[in-house]
């Protein structure tokens, strides 16, 4: 008998999944089971919808993108925020059919706003969907492209700044504006304004492993961090030695502040990239707050947590949004989604 030789050993992935092929379908089934009444999921089209649609005559908001950024976008479907989220494959834009199905499902006669992160694929797929909505379904669609990532320095020689953390803020505030009964034009305008007033930058302690690839997206030494990363395992602006929370806060905030328009108080969002313990995010929130205080920037609203992630990447991003009274009031308005939740009787801060 010839001895059985072990095939070139492939180390199985350390992930709570069944198979790389079923990640998105399984995830959506889990969401449906975990939120049986507040969400409704169209599994065929991979669209997450509110359990109870919003009132007739209000603008609906659709977002979506590649999966792997949870809770974005499905976790933000709910009263006061999104009406539908289209889940693409991991790190791959959804296809126009999904947006078309979402658009038809959520339109309440007042039109639909698409919130799209600025990636070539997302922009093209949402574009095609908007063309279809217009041509086939006669539904008014407006699009807002978010592009808040200051890590992309030279937007004339690139596909333009990426949409990252600011997207969460656009979705929240546009959602509140739509809930107020504003017109499609007005909701799009406020969404544009949030995007124009938001700037972000991220960093990674570790790369990300896409289930379908099974290996890290880039190599990072034990004593290295990557500054200016995106949310798809793209390498960043530069590689540096491990630094303290304080130093990292400065490395992220200084380029943000250099490009943040306007004056006055800001919203500070400290976001974990997927595998970052909450205790570390609060430490980053402290350092970021202190850096801002030293720079003379008043922080009037805070949000800390894993809000827009990159699978199992450890690291964080910081987003600043320049606030005014209108944006503040829309921010404070109630929101009832799985991942973002506050009510009228909460004191905002």
């Amino acid at each position: 008998m010839t001895p059985v030789t072990k095939p070139c050993s492939v180390v199985p992935m350390k992930k709570l999944i069944n198979s790389p092929d079923t990640v998105v379908a399984d995830f959506l089934e889990g969401m449906a089971l975990a939120h049986p009444t507040s969400l409704r999921i169209d599994h065929e089209n991979r669209v997450v919808l509110r359990g109870t649609p919003k009132d007739e005559g209000k603008v609906a908001i659709v977002s979506g993108g590649g999966s792997g950024h949870e809770p974005l976008h499905g976790g933000y479907v709910g009263r006061g925020m999104l009406d539908a989220a289209c889940a693409g494959e991991v790190f791959t834009s959804p296809v126009p059919d999904q947006m078309q199905a979402a658009t038809k499902a959520v339109d309440r006669g007042a039109g639909v706003l698409y919130i799209v992160k600025n990636y070539t694929g997302d922009v093209m797929n949402f574009d095609m969907a908007a063309e279809l909505a217009d041509a086939e379904d006669d539904i008014a669609v407006r699009q807002v492209i978010t592009n808040d990532d200051v890590a992309v320095e030279d937007s004339t020689f690139t596909a333009g700044r990426r949409g990252v953390g600011g997207t969460v803020l656009v979705e929240k505030i546009a959602g509140a504006a739509a809930e107020e009964g504003r017109s499609l034009e007005e909701v799009a305008e406020v969404a544009e304004r949030v995007n124009a007033c938001a700037r972000s930058m991220g960093m990674a302690l570790t790369p990300v492993t896409v289930p379908a690839n099974g290996k890290p997206s880039f190599e990072l030494g034990d004593d290295e961090i990557e500054i200016g990363i995106g949310i798809h395992g793209e390498p960043g602006r530069r590689r540096e030695p491990v630094a303290s929370a304080r130093e990292i806060a400065e490395k992220l905030l200084d380029p943000i502040l250099a490009e943040l328009p306007g004056e006055g108080p800001v919203l500070l969002m400290v976001n974990g990239m997927g595998a970052t313990p909450l205790i570390e995010l609060y430490i980053m929130a402290k350092e970021a707050s202190q850096v801002l205080a030293e720079r003379g920037v008043e922080v009037s609203r805070h949000m800390v947590g894993e809000l827009i992630t990159s699978l199992d990447m450890a690291g964080c991003s910081i987003t600043l949004l320049r606030l005014d009274d209108e944006l503040t009031a829309l921010w404070d308005a109630p929101v009832h989604s799985p991942a973002l939740h506050w009510s009228a009787d909460d004191i905002q801060e």
Partner: protein, 223 residues
């Protein structure tokens, strides 16, 4: 030597698309590795998924070239996502619509159809030559195909060789479109994954449309 082909029929196109799908599946890991270096590492799975979906519709009845290619294009649009889905989808959609009612294509109309398809890629992606995208394989390939003269087979081989050369020529380029553009100078030194998948489409064309068992071009994807 086998019979010399001068036209491409609907079954020929189906064979081409089927072979394209096989090559995408075979080279999926390679394409994703190229994409990991300068993008998000999914180009191989995207192409594999898309052409698997295409293979699923190839058994339907197609009377005309445009019926087939439009079905292929919309299948890609509906199943790939990302940047490559709308781009390749648009390619086949436009390629089809440019040949309304045709049941076979000679070399000239094949060139015309593909040119219209590539114009669709340009229109959708707003990129041009030298931006380190799939266009850097498509454009030289079409040019070589058009210039080749001679038989359809020779033209296809010339196109495939130019596509492979165009693919390789993306290596030193600095990307200014798509995800790779975020890397700036760091994008140089890597082959563009979309250019590599375009070279595979041309390899499949040679293998299926040129007639005979000649597989002329090199292995299509970068090693």
């Amino acid at each position: 030597m086998t019979e010399r082909k001068t036209t491409v029929t609907v079954p020929d196109l189906i064979a081409w698309l089927r072979r394209t799908g096989e090559l995408m599946a075979e080279h999926a890991a390679e394409l994703s590795d190229l994409d990991s270096a300068i993008g998000d590492g999914d180009h191989g799975t995207n192409m594999k998924r898309g052409f698997a979906a295409v293979a699923g519709v190839l058994d339907e009845d197609f009377e005309t070239v445009d019926a087939l290619l439009k079905r292929v294009g919309s299948t890609l649009v509906s199943s790939v996502g990302g940047a490559s889905g709308p781009l390749y989808g648009t390619f086949y959609l436009r390629m089809g619509t440019s040949q309304k009612g045709a049941t076979e294509l000679d070399a000239a109309s094949l060139l015309g159809a593909m040119s219209t398809g590539v114009e669709g890629i340009e229109a959708r992606g707003k990129a041009g030559i030298g931006e380190k995208t799939m266009l850097d394989a498509w454009m030289p390939a079409l040019e070589a195909f058009g210039r080749a003269g001679g038989s359809l087979a020779d033209a296809l081989r010339a196109g495939a060789e130019a596509a492979a050369a165009g693919r390789d020529a993306t290596e030193p380029m600095v990307a200014t479109k798509g995800r790779a553009s975020y890397l700036g100078e760091r994008s140089a030194g890597h082959i563009d994954p979309g250019a590599a998948s375009t070279a595979l489409i041309w390899q499949a064309a040679v293998e299926t449309l040129a007639g005979g068992s000649d597989t002329g071009s090199d292995d299509g994807a970068a090693s």
